[in-house]
């Protein structure tokens, strides 16, 4: 008896599940391609290098924040504090910029990461729900940014040229924030797919109990994930401060919502364990392109744009929910 054959009910189900899963994952890509084709056909200004670079640059900081959010959501958690951490990092970097670029960048990143670690410890060790911990951090970190700056924006010192370069420099035709974005997603994608840490994020999001029973250091991974989310939000904040030439304590208000929206639209499920960096990049770009189309159209007021954005998010989530349910019912 070499191989025993089990009743193979799974066979037909598997391909069906695969097709649905593919649709679930690639729906956002299809939408993005369709939006781009529509834009290119309707507006002369859409498919120009300037416009493309513009869209990418405008969305690069949100993209960084959303990447961190992706890691967190893959574990089944949520990070509401990213907008505030972004502000803290920008403010700290601006304040330290008189000492040079390196202390500024390291200080900004380090502070945001440290606050992310605080999130992670409270979630993993003290066992308070992510929603509450990061809600409290949203408030507390904003308070920190306001207190540190006496509620004024802090100018980035002109001496910190490397810091300014982060926000305003270019690599050939590519603005530096865009290069950073691409680099971050490349690393993020590789990490999720090819490193143990990345695989463990999926495992924890799939079933924390199972991951624990299979011997994964769940607490350490969760803490590292929130640290990473904090650091990426911090990076976004530093780039933003560099672009604006000032660290603003009110920067990034409401960005947690935009980041969550981008992650969800991309196809990563809030329940954890399914999705990835590529999906989120597609989600960020899709939302960015739609906004760009609104602007090119010119007749849609910003207020209607908000309405449409909300409606769009709802539509995506409803379709996803249906597909997902079909998938699990099969």
């Amino acid at each position: 008896m070499s191989t025993t054959s089990l009743p193979s009910v799974a066979g037909s189900r598997f391909t069906g599940a695969r097709a649905l899963g593919l649709l679930l994952r690639s729906g956002a890509v299809v939408a993005l391609v369709a939006a781009c084709i529509f834009g290119a056909m309707r507006y002369y200004a859409f498919a120009t290098p300037e416009n493309v670079v513009n869209v990418l640059r405008q969305n690069s900081m949100l993209g960084l924040v959303a990447l961190g959010m992706t890691f967190v959501i893959l574990t089944g958690g949520i990070d509401l504090s990213v907008g505030s951490l972004l502000a803290v990092a920008g403010v700290v970097a601006a304040m330290l910029s008189t000492h040079g670029s390196l202390p500024a960048i390291a200080g900004g990143l380090g502070t945001a990461m440290l606050l992310g670690i605080v999130n992670g410890v409270l979630i993993a060790k003290v066992r308070i729900q992510p929603f509450i911990v990061t809600l409290a951090m949203l408030i507390a970190a904003r308070a920190l940014a306001l207190a540190a700056t006496a509620e004024q924006s802090v100018t980035v010192s002109p001496d910190a040229s490397a810091l300014s370069w982060l926000g305003r420099g270019e690599l050939g035709p590519v603005p530096l924030p865009v290069a950073l974005l691409v680099l971050a997603y490349l690393i993020g994608w590789t990490m999720l797919r090819y490193t143990r840490f990345g695989r463990y994020l999926y495992a924890i999001g799939d079933s924390e109990d199972a991951a624990r029973l299979m011997g994964l250091p769940v607490d350490r991974i969760v803490i590292a994930t929130y640290a990473l989310s904090g650091a990426l939000a911090g990076l976004g904040g530093i780039v933003l401060a560099a672009r604006l030439g000032a660290g603003q304590p009110v920067a990034g208000t409401g960005w947690e919502l935009d980041a969550i929206a981008a992650v969800v639209v991309g196809g990563t499920l809030l329940t954890g364990g399914q999705g990835g960096a590529g999906s989120t990049l597609v989600g960020v770009l899709l939302l960015g392109v739609i906004f760009n189309l609104f602007n090119l159209e010119g007749t849609i007021s910003p207020w209607w744009q908000w309405v449409l954005r909300g409606v769009f998010l709802l539509g995506v989530v409803i379709v996803q929910g249906r597909l997902q349910r079909r998938l699990t019912h099969e």
Partner: protein, 521 residues
């Protein structure tokens, strides 16, 4: 095989564990030898799963000692236990359902090349491992798309690949078909030949005697004894588990008594039955169940796991409505599409999963008990507190619900008392038909008897009862008739003297049991 005792692989001595004020384990010893299959048996609450969790690092013992390969060991986490070679495959299989077989097998120690996960090698080695165990499973398949049996095999394969010296199988066959069970046996024998020690937890005596070498019996957190299984007959084993003498066991074991074997008077009368289903079907699990329940009758439903017992109940109650066939209540067609329809028609349903589908844990006994009857207790949109209190007191007294007060949260009660509250939830709606799915599962002996007596009394007062049970004694002694299901179909109806454990087992298992054929018409 049972001659000279091989040296101990794992030894546990004087293991004690306390939860709050309850002592779950009290000085339990266990010795596992290389290459043996060791059965761990005991009634609910005996302490089997606590012992296993301590062995595999999920719980930490309060006192006692543990040796593996002659060395003292102390596991703080499942990871440590696994690293030392002690693995568990739990009843509710703990795998990552959205990930592939290979990822699950190698989780925590993925093969890497230059620091990156080497997917090709991982898939390849998993394939080799599975083939080596005689399993035909694609390493790239997502675990959630596999059936339960295959998932179980994957979990075992993971244990094997971890180099497990001790493998714990907790109720491994609870959701397997007979054919899949033989595959599992093959696998267990293979591992045994490789001198792995296997702890086998099961309630099914056939399995224990088919596959196990020795048995350790626990009762109420204490060690009763360890034996070679070959020298212990079944009745002795049951006696050890229940803590009874052989003579005591011969008498009836349930509180139903024997009197119900006579068909109820209503059966012979020409009035229409209270409940009648005509070939109800839904999906692949429920494929044509026809049965009848008369007022004042207890109709038992028997069948193996997966035979469509629970699905039948849920279809009659409208929780998972039937797609084909018909449900008649009191001669009128009902076909409930939701529980509301069924409740309004006078049907109550006590689910088999008390925790997930029965109690509302944070609410008081009073609110839990009156939940289904609220519409009747409400006047002008306000719940009448006095009527509520009156009903709750009446039923707490009548059913002997033991609690500090009606305000106590239901989650603080014992399983038996919770079950009584859930019964009362339906009784106070004054139903015509009550569907009970495993009414005495996981309940201590005392409460079990009380519930059985109560069901009997209710039927005597004219209520129709449809009772699903996997305990054959309960069906045999409690039912006026027994409907036997197999593969989603009703295959036999036994009544009067035809009802016996043997007849039921025959009908459940065999394709053509002569007795069943006659009765099914």
């Amino acid at each position: 095989m049972t001659g000279a005792a091989p040296p101990a692989l794992l030894r546990m001595e004087g293991i004690t564990k306390t939860f709050g004020s309850a002592r779950a384990l009290d000085g339990v010893d266990l010795t596992l030898r290389r290459g043996e299959v060791h059965a761990l048996v005991g009634e609910n609450g005996a302490g089997k799963s606590t012992l296993v969790k301590i062995m595999t690092g999920a719980y930490h013992r309060d006192s006692g000692e543990m040796w593996l390969d002659g060395e003292r060991v102390d596991f703080d986490t499942p990871a440590q236990a696994q690293a030392a070679g002690v693995c568990a495959v739990h009843q509710e299989i703990h795998l990552l359902t959205h990930r592939t077989v290979a990822e699950n097998v190698y989780l925590g120690r993925e093969p890497r090349r230059w620091g990156f996960v080497d997917w090709r090698r991982m898939n390849h080695e998993t394939g080799a491992l599975l083939a080596g165990l005689g399993l035909d499973i694609d390493p790239r398949a997502v675990v959630g798309t596999l059936n339960t049996a295959r998932q179980q095999m994957v979990a075992i394969a993971r244990g094997v690949s971890l180099g497990a010296k001790v493998l714990v199988l907790d109720e491994p066959t609870s959701s397997l078909s007979p054919r899949e069970v033989t595959i599992l046996y093959d696998l267990v024998r293979r591992l045994k030949a490789q001198s792995t020690a296997i702890v086998y937890i099961s309630h099914r005596f056939d399995e224990l005697y088919a596959i196990c070498d020795r048995v350790t019996v626990l009762r109420d957190g204490r060690l009763v004894s360890s034996h070679d299984l070959a020298s212990l007959d079944r009745l002795d084993l049951v006696c050890l588990m229940l803590g009874k003498s052989r003579d005591a066991l011969r008498a009836g074991t349930t509180a139903f008594g024997e009197q119900r074997h006579a068909p109820a008077a209503s059966l012979t009368a020409p009035q229409p039955p209270l409940l009648r289903t005509e070939a109800i079907a839904r999906g692949s699990r429920l494929r044509g169940v026809s049965l009848e329940v008369a007022a004042g009758e207890i109709v038992g439903v028997a069948g193996l796991l997966g035979s469509g017992r629970t699905e039948t109940a849920r279809a009659i109650f409208g929780a998972a409505p039937s797609e084909q066939g018909a449900v008649y209540l009191g001669g009128r067609r009902l076909d409930p599409q939701s529980p509301d329809d069924a409740i309004a028609a006078g049907i109550g349903f006590v689910s088999e999963d008390r925790k997930a589908e029965g109690i509302i844990p944070e609410l008081s006994i009073r609110e839990n008990l009156t939940l289904a009857a609220l519409p009747m207790l409400t006047r002008f949109g306000i719940v009448s507190r006095s009527r509520q209190v009156e009903i709750v007191e009446r039923f707490m007294r009548r059913l002997g619900i033991k609690a500090a007060s009606a305000d106590q949260r239901i989650r603080e009660l014992s399983g038996g008392n919770q079950q009584k509250v859930l019964l009362a939830r339906w009784l106070c709606t004054e139903p015509r038909l009550l569907i009970l799915d495993e009414p005495t599962r996981g309940i201590d002996i005392g409460a079990k008897g009380e519930i059985q007596a109560l069901v009997n009394e209710l039927a005597a007062s004219g209520l129709g009862v449809l009772m699903i049970s996997s305990e054959l004694e309960e069906l045999v002694e409690g039912s006026t008739r027994v409907v036997v299901l197999r593969d989603g179909r009703s295959v036999a109806v036994l009544q009067g003297d035809e009802i016996s454990q043997q007849a039921i087992i025959h009908a459940m298992a065999s394709e053509r049991a002569p007795a069943a054929q006659d009765a099914a018409s």
